[in-house]
Assembly symmetry: D2
Homo-oligomer: 368 residues x 4
């Protein structure tokens, strides 16, 4: 009941329900003196909002962010930053029966039991992916903080959708090209086939899953607090908080099961006076600490549960089996809209750990 909070020193608190009044964020712990404008936050939210392309939900939300506190004269003040967006394009009719007729693959059934039927079921309520807008609100600030201090680059992008895998590309290419198509995949050929796979699934009343990769460059060495707040511990916790995520791996990931130590170990050498490793199977993490090599991770997203096809469900009031046809406006694939969300979540964890490691000054610049 108190899981609305992410982070220890750079803290995001998220509230809201999909069809309630608003969804909002409170961001604590950003040091004073970080320049940030409403437009910067809005631009990133725009990358996440629905209704923008043929592969996403038709729900049309402007998602205009309002800043309530914590930013003064376009700088952070050092006190909590309150932000929110109103819910506007709400159509709750399709959800009338959902309170007692749980959608397969959704939180409906365990939520109904946990909250005794009092939770807001409309649009998934608190379990809606709409809450990820609040991750972006906080993530923009975290990302700006990291970029300002360390020139950190956080680059998430789609590498697989519906079984179609993209070619490997460089981080620079991913950064420059990831938003050049609707599926946010920097390989244009694969992107085209992914779009087709999504549309095909939608036509068939179905949905598809996929994988997002994230690479982070330019981080301080030693971020992370072993044992239980190691950087991979906290990062995975945050990534699994994104709806639909079912797997997370760092560096060589599940493939390490097949490697020998001599293959997996990243050996060291001096390069221009700096110690680097000649491979990066560790994904930039050793002993739960950042190594200075790029942080790499892969995140598996399931296909959206809300599909148009009839499914087997139950009527919890009548206590009998019933067929269900999910109505409403749904994404046939969450990955395109999840790209800025992954960027944000990763930034939030790294900003928190940068502060915890003592790498962030208590005031970010001289006041004029």
């Amino acid at each position: 009941m108190a899981g609305a909070r992410l982070g220890e020193r750079f803290v995001l608190t998220s509230y809201g329900e999909s069809h309630g009044q608003a969804v909002g964020a409170v961001v604590e712990g950003c040091p004073p003196g970080l320049p940030i404008t409403l437009d910067e936050i809005q631009s990133e939210l725009d990358l996440r909002r629905p209704g923008q392309s043929k592969v996403t939900s038709a729900r049309s939300e402007l998602d205009r962010v309002e800043i309530l506190s914590g930013i003064f004269n376009n700088n952070t003040t050092g006190t909590p930053i309150g932000m929110f967006i109103w819910n506007k394009d709400v159509d709750s009719r399709p959800y009338e029966e959902l309170g007692h007729k749980p959608r397969p693959g959704h939180a409906d059934l365990p939520a109904w039991i946990k909250y005794g039927g009092f939770n807001d079921p409309r649009g998934g309520g608190y379990f809606s992916a709409r809450l990820t807008a609040t991750f972006v609100m906080g993530g923009v600030i975290a990302r700006k903080l990291l970029a300002t201090l360390f020139d950190t680059k956080i680059v998430s992008y789609v590498t697989e959708i519906g079984g179609i895998r993209a070619e490997d590309v460089s981080v620079d290419r991913a950064l420059s090209d990831r938003y050049s198509n609707e599926v946010r995949c920097p390989d244009p050929d694969a992107a085209e086939r992914m779009v087709e796979a999504i549309l095909q699934a939608r036509r068939e009343g179905d949905s598809v899953g996929g994988i997002i990769q994230c690479v982070v460059q330019n981080l301080p060495v030693g971020l992370g607090e072993p044992i239980f707040s190691s950087i991979d511990s906290d990062m995975s916790r945050a990534l699994f908080s994104i709806p639909a995520v079912k797997g997370v791996e760092f560096g060589a990931g599940f493939n390490v099961a097949k490697l020998r130590g001599s293959e997996n170990n990243d050996q060291y050498e001096y390069h221009d006076g700096l110690v680097i490793s000649t491979s990066n199977n560790s994904g930039g993490i050793l002993g739960g600490l950042t190594t200075g090599m790029p942080l790499t991770m892969r995140i598996a997203f399931k296909p959206p549960s809300s599909i148009a096809r009839p499914q087997k469900s139950v009527n919890l009031l009548l206590k009998k089996d019933e067929e269900l046809v999910v109505r409403g406006r749904h994404d046939p694939c969450v990955l395109p809209r999840a790209v800025p969300v992954v960027d944000s979540i990763v930034a939030l964890i790294l900003a928190d750990h940068a502060i915890r490691a003592g790498s962030v000054p208590p005031v970010l610049k001289e006041t004029k």
Copy 2:
């Protein structure tokens, strides 16, 4: 610097270094009235301790646990439980040069930078897998709590080592047979080949990785606190705190990337008056909450970094490349000893969430 703590209401605090005086645990939040004996804790620790078989490290530690507080007349008192084991069979000579000559794949390099050279490098210090003994100390109590209240069964076992995959077995079979061989794999044929793979790797001065699967039966519905303390969030955080873990997945895991919604959704039906799902791709988790279906997860462990073969490293004092030959007594494969550790970590998170969900009474039984 404050990552020594796992859990919100059932809390483990871990301390110690591999070659220091002792490693210990403080367990807070266990309600009063849980019967527990020294022997129960010792038996589980014995499953983890080294020096027991030909596939593990030769370090011979008795790991006799001492209880310092919190258990009185063989019942928990409700106040913090202090426990520890002395470090005895310590041979620190091989570590003399490690402070400034980092082992590939180990925490040595980022730890040296983070702690400015003050951390205890002997045996990996605080980063040693020896600290997982403290997970077991707390895990035994958590497991007993869950078993007492819900008849919960937590069953971890090895399913893959060095590329050799075991056959699928039932949970009952896994529970009864997992400790029948040295690699803790309930498929005896695969187990035999895994032993051979480990011994072969050791003969070649190398090491192997693998996968542990964990299934949990008999859990209350609704454990987990969305968004950021969802059951998968907190579970993954804890699992990545085990040294050598590089990937975690729940239910269908990474395979969801290839599935369609119609394949992945677990459909509902009534079965003897209870709602069940006819498949379990969700791994018993929807919306970050337990569903009542078995919780299933898979955890990838890398091959141990400490291998006998010469590797490329650097001398941090002389600032030049140097070959490294790691000495000392090391496990050629961590998975066999990690099985009780995974059980423990899973139990700790579930006990914490059972308390947080209000499923645990404040006093466990009537006093006589």
Copy 3:
């Protein structure tokens, strides 16, 4: 930088600045099924808002609360409750010089140093007592929860202002009469003199302090988590978070310094089958736990720092001494408006500890 949060399981997060856009609260951890209406929250806020009587600030704020989430069909949902009020009657002109000319007795100087000049100085910014409106937002819900479950009565009232002490009254009398006058003191004679003392101070460009007493009846025994979250520990922490508080005592308080053990110990006897104590010097707290006797505490509030008289200050830019005349609209005494704030803070801590002690069911009632 992350002090915006009160509580472990029933959690208030507060944001806002006195002259910013809004001040708001996020309340986590209230179980689902608590009936609550907008009017209930508004009524309590009305007791705190300024501009209502001749003894308070002339700032006229309607403080109309908006509920953004967490309440659905007039019941709590179990998910975070977002609420806020807009700042409307803002006059920031008097604060233009305050950024660099600190008011004696205010946070101006240490805040200017801590936040490097980036904090919002208008109206005290985040340090304004206006933030206590958010305590009330959360406090209403906490109080309703406690009243519903335990019939708990939380009764704060003024016992001293400007050196004038009220007669002792019964808790029932305090409850019924405390809001019958402008100073919220249930002794009408003393109240009259207190009003006069406040007006006299205002006429002289000055301000007065005083004491609020709080008595809580009908609490479960055993609330509190020794050692460091004992009920007095957490309560005092919360009370000192109210601006202007300089002293807190429980039961016999500072007077214990003069008592002998034989005088101070509250002896036991059976009374109608229940164990009671024949005195209550402990203030209902032993060993950091509630005893079942009334919880009693006294809180000292300093006279408001913002006074009309010229005071000695410094110009931080010119680095020289300068006289300061504080302008703006200020309360000559904070106690009357602080009464609902103390009620709220006390309720928040008790609700949190009731949940932590396992005294609160996870769902509060049957859904229809």
Copy 4:
């Protein structure tokens, strides 16, 4: 049930029971490179241990501290510091009946209810003041950290016992003379009368209370995290965690109730280029932040509850009134032994906040 922890970034975890095996501490968050020896910790513990003078308990404990981890080559490593002392001179016979015959003024009754009779009642168990030895273990390290970085001086001393008040002395005098007598009061005349008052009370089978004052010099400006982790909030929380404390005040404390704003406000002026205040009614705290002026606080301790005189109690098993005569070895006054405990608690909070404010470097010195 999880109150064993103090601090966010510099964290003390305390465990143990008065007559169990041991009492111990885990200290997290001290940066690496702080020189500390076993002797430094032992010396401070010696100031607290019983059996040293005619005004304290006759229980004779050597309290030899053992360091289990976190200190290597006489420097902190940056990882958790485990420490404990064995319980040796234990005589549990007097406690046999206490489980069901609660001592007036003690935690016995609420603890018996909260823990369902499973808590260890011997010597007060977890509620014993013996646990304050763990505060000292952590406090020594915190104090050394503050002294090393800021030359901080924390000076607690007795100012009142049994109604006898000491003369005011300078901080320097308090620092040099406080340990020159058995009651730790720097006014020798008052000290003599205090000793007599304690002995007189003991002769009469009774006990006495008093007041400890604490002054802290040389602190960074801006420590504290408003609103809810303000420096006075967190400090009072920690002080009320010391057994027997019933009141806490800062600066002018309860006396502010009688002051006008013009009297209470500490006005500013430049002094040798620094802004100081010409009085210190704020006690060095404004808006919950340290101001740079000395931090001053007063703490009221009740007379010990364990007195030899017969008292009225109840038999919880027979459910009837019964007279109680408390046996065992008890302090007739806790204040002398509480002086190093207050020093320690104050240091722990300040060290935590110094880290949180970014005033502490992540590594304390160059390694050789």
